[in-house]
């Protein structure tokens, strides 16, 4: 009897070690923040080697977050980001409309006709917690939200696309980058992302940008995502001094 318990404990221990090591290996290492001059230099090299296909997932949030997101994306070229997915919280029509307006603004900017045909995905996510929702039911709604996030990441909606669209999105299900700037939904999407990273399904990198409105303290989403984001930007120098591992390049929303 003791032998069985010991064996079980040992298995559990090995499993824990394995899981911790795996988590440790996928967590971002941001200890050495690259000085700005080097960033500018390396980006010059990037222009030559930028991959022909790339997929970015943009997480939209309530009013202010969405406005800031699209302010930051003003200069993005649709040829750099061929596949674009936007997620918004259920009922947030404002964000959905902003995403559509942004996509319309991109139409004239394609240099390759093929990229224009790819289109974009605009997906609704259930809320992790609705305003005034009871804390008793919150774990359940969080789970439902997480499940939907996983569906978005693995591209569950792609099977319902037309045949032509399906071929354009084939092998592009998992985003290369997730870009978020604060809404609570972002935490769920990034968690789902780490689930797939754990099993080696994707190499998605996470960029987090703290809101321009945050001058001296990080938001709750920011604090939760600080250890999980590959790049963490703050828009005020005070924050960069206070939280090691964050980067400050200036007002990214300007």
């Amino acid at each position: 009897m003791i032998k069985i318990i010991l064996a079980a404990l040992l298995t559990l221990l090995v499993l824990t070690i394995f899981v911790s090591l795996r988590i440790f290996s996928i967590l971002p290492n941001r200890q050495h923040v690259i000085p700005q001059t080097q960033i500018l230099q390396s980006s010059r090299i990037v222009e030559i080697t930028t991959p022909s296909k790339s997929h970015i997932l943009f997480i939209l949030g309530s009013g202010g977050h969405t406005t800031e997101m699209f302010a930051m994306l003003q200069d993005i070229s649709p040829d750099t980001v061929t596949h674009r997915t936007y997620v918004f919280s259920s009922g947030d029509n404002h964000s959905a409309q902003k995403a559509q307006a942004f996509e319309e603004s991109l139409v004239g900017k394609f240099t390759k006709r093929n990229n224009m045909k790819i289109g974009y995905r605009l997906l609704e996510l259930p809320r992790a917690r609705r305003v005034k929702q009871s804390w008793l039911t919150t774990p359940l709604s969080c789970l439902i939200c997480l499940w939907s996030c996983m569906d978005v990441l693995r591209g569950a909606d792609i099977v319902r696309m037309t045949k032509e669209m399906k071929s354009l999105w084939a092998d592009m299900e998992f985003p290369d980058l997730v870009i978020c700037n604060g809404p609570g939904t972002a935490v769920m999407v990034v968690l789902a992302c780490y689930f797939y990273k754990f099993f080696g399904k994707c190499a998605t990198r996470v960029i987090y940008v703290e809101s321009f409105a945050r001058v001296t303290t990080l938001s709750l989403s920011g604090r939760l995502l600080l250890p999980l984001a590959n790049r963490f930007f703050v828009q005020w120098p005070q924050l960069a001094d206070k939280y090691p591992g964050t980067e400050h390049l200036g007002f990214l929303v300007s």
Binding site: I39, L40, S42, S43, I45, V46, E47, T49, T50, P51, S54, I56, G63, G64, T67, E68, A71, M72, L73, Q74, D75, I76, S77, T80, V81, H94, K98, D176, L177, I179, A203, T204, R205, I207, V209, S211, F212, A213, R214, V215, T216, T217, N230, R231, F233, W236, L249, G250, F251, L252, V253, S254
Partner: protein, 191 residues
């Protein structure tokens, strides 16, 4: 919404509370003395986005205020809310903006290089807005006003050396994205 005045010499002041409840700002601006000051500075139109404060807005339209407005036939118009595009247009066509400390309005006003007086709502629970207003005022991007002496801020705004707000953020962010996509590509190859 009141019809858009079309004369060229129209000089507009836009007062906005966003989606917040900030009746005290509406009250502070629509004091006869304050309106008189704005008038003496040559402004011809007041546009008030008052949010939930419709009754207050109407109650502030007193005979005294009407008398002040009549002096130079200054026009005044108010509405509860407007869409983002309408607000953008309002900001574009205004000369001076008196606003709550919402980051969206501040950024929009600075994007069009407008003179802005930011009045933080002291009754809000979180003080981020106040922090933002303080920092932006320290850098001379905005004037931070208070409800008690709004007239001072309005006088100050006339010849205040507003600093030019940088406009290269989205370019820097595009560079970050390109750099990260390159990183992902390498991760795929070696990882």
């Amino acid at each position: 919404m009141a019809p858009e005045p079309s004369q060229k010499s129209d000089r507009k002041v836009f007062i906005t509370v966003g989606t917040t409840n900030f009746d005290s700002l509406i009250t502070a601006v629509l004091q006869p003395a304050v309106v008189d000051l704005l008038q003496s500075q040559g402004y011809t139109t007041l546009r008030v986005q008052y949010g939930q404060g419709v009754e207050l807005y109407q109650s502030l339209y007193t005979a005294e205020l009407e008398g002040v407005l009549a002096k130079s036939s200054m026009s005044i118009g108010g509405y509860a809310y407007a869409s983002g595009d309408e607000i953008t247009n309002e900001i574009k066509t205004s000369e001076l903006i008196i606003s709550h400390a919402g980051s969206g309005t501040i950024l929009e006003a600075l994007r069009y290089q407008k003179r802005i007086i930011v009045v933080p709502n002291e009754s809000l629970m979180d003080n981020h807005q106040k922090e933002l207003a303080n920092e932006m005022a320290k850098l001379n991007y905005v004037i931070k006003g208070s409800l008690i002496n709004l007239s001072n801020s309005i006088t100050k705004s006339l010849d205040f050396g507003y600093k030019h707000f940088p406009r290269k953020g989205s370019k820097m962010f595009s560079e970050v994205i390109e750099e990260e996509l390159d990183h992902v590509d390498k991760d795929k190859m070696y990882g």
